[in-house]
């Protein structure tokens, strides 16, 4: 997924970074439709269940029952989020990424390889998406049209996070 994101950025997204917003919207909605179409062709429109014992297993704490798959997914997610936070905060590459987020032009002037950083960041984002998708696969029946739901959910979450950050300031 990282490789996919990296290639996507260097091939397509790069050309649209400095364009106005509505052009970017058109590009990404087009990409989304393209992906959904590819999934429709390769996997078909029917919801596809994962045939796994994992879908049926639970863990009992006292009298509370939790899905094993859900617990595993949450644990892996926590580890990944913490790792990513540490990476952004402490490594020098993480500092590059934060600089690029802060000011693109300033970063370019002081010699940060902005295009490379953009590509890698896009790769990280895509890898996050793919990883979480794989984690929840025992819980959902996969279907190409789920994409819209997930995009919307991710938006709502990001807006919440932005809201939280702006309230803290």
């Amino acid at each position: 997924m990282f490789a996919l994101g990296y290639c996507l950025e260097t091939l397509i997204v790069k050309r649209f970074v400095t364009r106005p917003h509505h052009v970017q919207f058109i590009v990404f909605i087009g990409l989304s439709l393209l992906f959904t179409g590819v999934q429709l062709i390769s996997f078909g429109p029917d919801p596809r269940p994962s045939v796994s014992q994992l879908s049926f297993e639970t863990i009992t704490f006292g009298s509370i029952r939790v899905d094993l798959a859900r617990l595993q997914a949450a644990a892996a997610t926590t580890v990944l989020i913490l790792t990513l936070a540490a990476f952004l905060k402490f490594s020098s590459f993480g500092r590059f990424i934060r600089a690029a987020a802060d000011n693109r032009l300033g970063g370019l002037i002081v010699g940060i390889p902005i295009p490379k950083i953009y590509a890698i960041t896009f790769g990280i984002g895509t890898a996050c998406a793919g990883f979480s998708g794989a984690l929840i696969s025992p819980l959902f029946d996969a279907q190409p049209y789920l994409a819209v739901d997930f995009t919307l959910l991710a938006f709502v979450r990001s807006l919440w996070e932005d809201l939280g950050v702006s309230l803290e300031r």
């Binding site: 997610t77 998406a129 793919g130 998708g133 029946d141 959910l153 979450r157």
Partner: protein, 237 residues
């Protein structure tokens, strides 16, 4: 989905019954649930196992479409084609009006579906249609009369939990919600990191998540994990 939750909660109802329901007799249901699919009841259109041609039709259907079952939909479609063919023969013409008139007078013995003589009332409903009870057994939808009905053990924890049931239910739901929320958080993190750094809104993010979903399922079905060896449908995709 409902049956899956029942299995997870350790509750084995004796009967799951869907009056006029779709789904329980479908192939996808059995693939999703494997051995847990046995025992669900459905009242639906179904083929008549005692009709003389049913066996040969099923065999030919399976030869042509090895990944499908002859279910309510394909059976009804087959029967519909037969009815129209019958009407065309009786009308003895290819004009639309003649065929329609003949269709209204249809009176034929059904070939695969379970029904009395097919006759239509003025609304176009088949007045002699039958409902058929199916139940799952041995990993395949079987007609009710032929199926051995297997009872499974009951494991309801019983009245001990009834007192604080509501509180437990809440705790259960909240905990699953929080765990699920963490995963959604990871999805949103991917979106936010792209938006924050590159300043583009990635509308294709959800599609990437679904790609991940498919990869996960492919991995599980094609490769198979150590603790999945017991799962009946592994390796079938």
């Amino acid at each position: 989905m409902v049956t899956r939750e029942c299995v997870k909660q350790g509750w084995n109802p004796k009967i799951i019954f869907t009056p006029n329901g779709n789904g329980v007799q479908d192939k996808a249901y059995y693939e999703a649930l494997g051995k847990y699919a046995d025992g669900a009841l459905a009242s639906t259109m179904y083929y008549n196992p005692k009709a003389p041609d049913t066996d040969s039709i099923i065999k030919r259907f399976e030869a042509d479409y090895p990944n499908q079952w002859l279910d309510a939909n394909s059976g009804c479609a087959f029967e519909a084609v037969q009815i129209v063919a019958d009407a065309v023969v009786r009308a003895n013409s290819s004009a639309s009006a003649d065929i329609h008139a003949a269709l209204k007078k249809t009176d034929m013995t059904p070939i695969v579906m379970n029904s009395g003589k097919i006759k239509f009332d003025e609304n176009g409903q088949n007045i002699n249609r039958h409902r058929h009870n199916t139940t799952g057994a041995k990993g395949k939808a079987a007609s009710y009369c032929a199926a051995r009905y297997r009872r499974r053990e009951h494991s309801v924890s019983g009245p001990a939990i009834r007192g604080s049931l509501m509180a437990l239910l809440w705790a259960n739901v909240v905990l699953s919600g929080v765990l699920m929320g963490l995963v959604y958080g990871l999805i949103a993190l991917g979106l936010t990191i792209i938006f924050g750094v590159i300043r583009v809104v990635n509308f294709a993010h959800g599609a990437m998540v679904v790609f991940g979903l498919y990869i996960g399922i492919l991995d599980r079905t094609l490769v198979g994990h150590a603790h999945d060896r017991s799962c009946p449908n592994c390796g079938r995709f």
